[in-house]
């Protein structure tokens, strides 16, 4: 029904906080946290990223938002292993700001490329 979001952060708390913040303006979008390492420490977990992408994908695709560079590397690797990589996009956007913009676009029924564009537009609501 809508494009989903996977929120990849080095911190469990950041990922979960971004999910709650973005969900506020996009209650019907699947926004899934992939924060921290497998044991909840600071870092990224391939398995959490893979699971978040799978959970966020209802068939219309997933936009992945990342914090630092190594989160991007992990997300790219997950994409290599994905069954339907054509439905996954890694946004080149700041994590929090991009996630909110992407969530609002997805809530409005935007397609995969439009949601990526919203994330990357750098719009900052004031």
């Amino acid at each position: 029904m809508t494009v989903g979001l996977a929120i990849v952060s080095h911190s469990v708390r950041i990922a979960e906080g971004v999910v709650e913040l973005a969900a506020q303006m996009a209650p019907s979008v699947a926004i899934v946290a992939a924060g921290g390492t497998d044991d909840g420490g600071l870092g990224t977990s391939f398995d959490r990223v893979q699971a978040a992408i799978a959970e966020a994908d209802s068939g219309d695709g997933v936009v992945v938002l990342c914090d630092l560079g190594s989160a991007v590397l992990t997300a790219q690797t997950a994409l290599d292993f994905a069954e339907a990589p054509e439905r996954i996009r890694i946004a080149d956007a700041p994590l929090v700001e991009g996630a909110v913009a992407a969530a609002v676009a997805a809530e409005g029924g935007a397609g995969l490329e439009q949601v990526v564009a919203a994330a990357e537009s750098g719009l900052q609501g004031a």
Partner: protein, 206 residues
């Protein structure tokens, strides 16, 4: 009708009552094009104001009441409306100065200062689909209304209400609604509506 400190206090109490009564409506407007909290935000703020009004001197000036509203809203609202209305009431308080009561020219000064404070804080222009779209017509109507404060307040309230309605066809360029692009069209801006509420309460306070 004399716009003295006691009147200012009655007005603020009336705003608190109206915000409380229309909280769900304001939040519903914010649900459509924002984060569904504008009514709760303002209600939290004005309830906190009510709790502090008693601590004021009986002879408090309009400026003293306005300043109390400002600092309380800034500390308690929790959303964009906090710094925006907070700044408005603060600048209004400064414009009121040490006057014991506001005549029509002073009222226009105070309303203008409030509007200018919001614009300075939020950088919104007219037509950006924000509370500014209610404030600016209100200021203009009040200054065109002549020397009768009652007429000035009535004109301001009517213009703010019209300004709020006029935000409906607009795309937003400030605030959360700006994320929505065209999807904001057809929805009234919650902050413009709460501005209309605040000024309607002023017109109705005797």
């Amino acid at each position: 009708m004399t716009l003295d400190g006691a009147w200012t206090r009655r007005w603020v109490e009336a705003v608190a009552a109206e915000v409380s009564r229309r909280k769900a409506e304001l939040t519903a407007l914010d649900r459509a094009i924002g984060d569904a909290d504008h009514g709760e935000n303002l209600d939290r703020g004005f309830q906190a104001v009510l709790g502090k009004l008693d601590a004021l001197d009986d002879g408090a000036t309009p400026a003293a009441v306005l300043r109390l509203v400002a600092t309380t809203l800034i500390s308690t609202v929790g959303g964009a409306a906090g710094p925006l209305y907070g700044t408005a009431f603060l600048k209004a308080s400064m414009a009121a100065g040490d006057r014991d009561e506001l005549d029509a020219p002073a009222l226009v000064e105070v309303l203008t200062a409030a509007r200018d404070g919001i614009v300075a804080r939020g950088k919104a222009e007219s037509g950006d689909k924000t509370m500014v779209d209610a404030w600016t017509p209100a200021v203009e109507a009040a200054s065109a209304a002549g020397d009768d404060v009652r007429a000035a307040l009535a004109a301001a309230a009517a213009a703010a209400a019209e300004g709020a309605v006029a935000t409906e066809p607009l795309v937003a360029h400030k605030g959360r609604a700006s994320y929505l692009g065209e999807r904001a069209v057809g929805h009234r801006d919650p902050g413009a509506e709460s501005t209309a509420l605040i000024l309607a309460a002023a017109a109705e306070t005797t």
